[in-house]
Subunit: 270 residues, 2 copies
Amino acid sequence: MDRNTALAAAEGNDQVLDSQKVMGTQTLVRGLALLECVADGVSYVKGISSRLGTRRSTTHRMLSSLVAEGYLHHVPYRGYTLGPQLIRLGARALEQRPVVGIARPHLESLARRTADTVHLGVRDGNAVLYLEKIPGTRGLEMRSRIGQQMPFALTGLGKAMMFAIPRDRWRALYEDGLTWVSGDAHPLPWPEYEAKLDAAIARGWTYDFEENELGVRCVGAPVRDISGGVIAAISLASPVFHMAESRMAELGPMLRETADAISRELGWGS
Amino acid sequence: MDRNTALAAAEGNDQVLDSQKVMGTQTLVRGLALLECVADGVSYVKGISSRLGTRRSTTHRMLSSLVAEGYLHHVPYRGYTLGPQLIRLGARALEQRPVVGIARPHLESLARRTADTVHLGVRDGNAVLYLEKIPGTRGLEMRSRIGQQMPFALTGLGKAMMFAIPRDRWRALYEDGLTWVSGDAHPLPWPEYEAKLDAAIARGWTYDFEENELGVRCVGAPVRDISGGVIAAISLASPVFHMAESRMAELGPMLRETADAISRELGWGS
DNA sequence: ATGCGCGCTCCCAAAATGTGGGACACTCAC
DNA sequence: GTGAGTGTCCCACATTTTGGGAGCGCGCAT
């Protein structure tokens, strides 16, 4: 089955075992892989079938089904793009996360008081997934978007969620984060990173000094649920100009209070 | 296959033939139906399998695959919810629509000048699908959300897109819209509806007087692309209090100009 | 203007894939 | 406790999927 090896190779990491896993749904899994493929901008049959390792006729069959169900949008001879059903389901998926609805008013209050950009994110594998964003009102827009992923270890959000991750896994996440970096980031060297994370845990909130995006600093804090585990994090971000170290130190407690208020609504400490 | 008839009925229009269509992807189509099922809040195995018409073991197999791929989130003995991959793909699907990115600055400008809620939507079957929303700054929040659907014929957005729909299909869309209405809407009777739509076409923008949501009025205008066809629409909405008829008449031309500016960027009239 | 690559739509035999029945351990709610 | 329902196996059967092929049409590049 060269298809499986191809898929495993495409996935890149420890998914090699995955391909062996839940068997009995080849068509379904292939269809989902096809969606990812289109999500990555591969919009023509040839590219898709070569990336999936399926023949043209098989690929066409799946494409037609996905188009018929509204998961793909199709313009003949112009290619395939993600369809309206995915927009709908994506919105539903957000609604179904209790933390989003509960956090929103708290985040709005934070945004009003600080004028900075507010984020809510959860862990998704080795990434942070943004669930909510309230743009700052200083006229300088962050590039982040709901549904976007960022390296877990190199964001204020991710570092706040590190609080609940066993120390022996920090290094792996840190190393993974380095593989994401483009030009405009200067991550800390490891020993310093670890030390700063320890300090953040003692303090109760995290700092990010342009480590992920040049010119942007942020402050983050973890959100916990009824089990006491960290299930999300919030952050405040702004251009360096508005984020002097002294101001960050003032924002920290505010972040932490907001995060704790959300946590309490989720049942934390009750 | 009663599942297919149910699906076809849910789709509403000429999809009845569809169920016979693209065969050879049963597992994929079932898996997608499963996602919709979970999206509708059916989160337990029993409910899902009965709605899909599949046996427990088959349902479990699909569920496990979807969880493994991140399309579903699973808490043992607590049920299934839509997963992070759908949030990601939903966001990508939005990015892949050129109209969203092109319209955004125009919509932001409109929002700043009017302080009302701005919407961008496209047609999705018999519904309007919101692609963008900029909340008004009058403190009164609309319930609408990106990714949400509304009855096509009963919204300012939908009526603006009616401009390009052959007159002989208006009635069907109107009737379909009536099947959506909850308590808080008073749709116009048909003859009046048709007359007002004619007037709107002559004028170049649409009005909606609380027909879809009680207490909310809106003004809409169509967006065209290079082909000249209407591919989207924009609208301004606010509580009745801020939407006197006189003000709506002033907003109309502004809406139309913004819509046309977006259309031109999409290649309209070039 | 012409050609070629590729997209779209059929068909069909072979076989790989998915199905569903059954059994057992476990969890949760009543 | 008890029972309904979930999570996890296994396996023989046959339905479903596969992919090769052939034809037509579109559009890009030369």
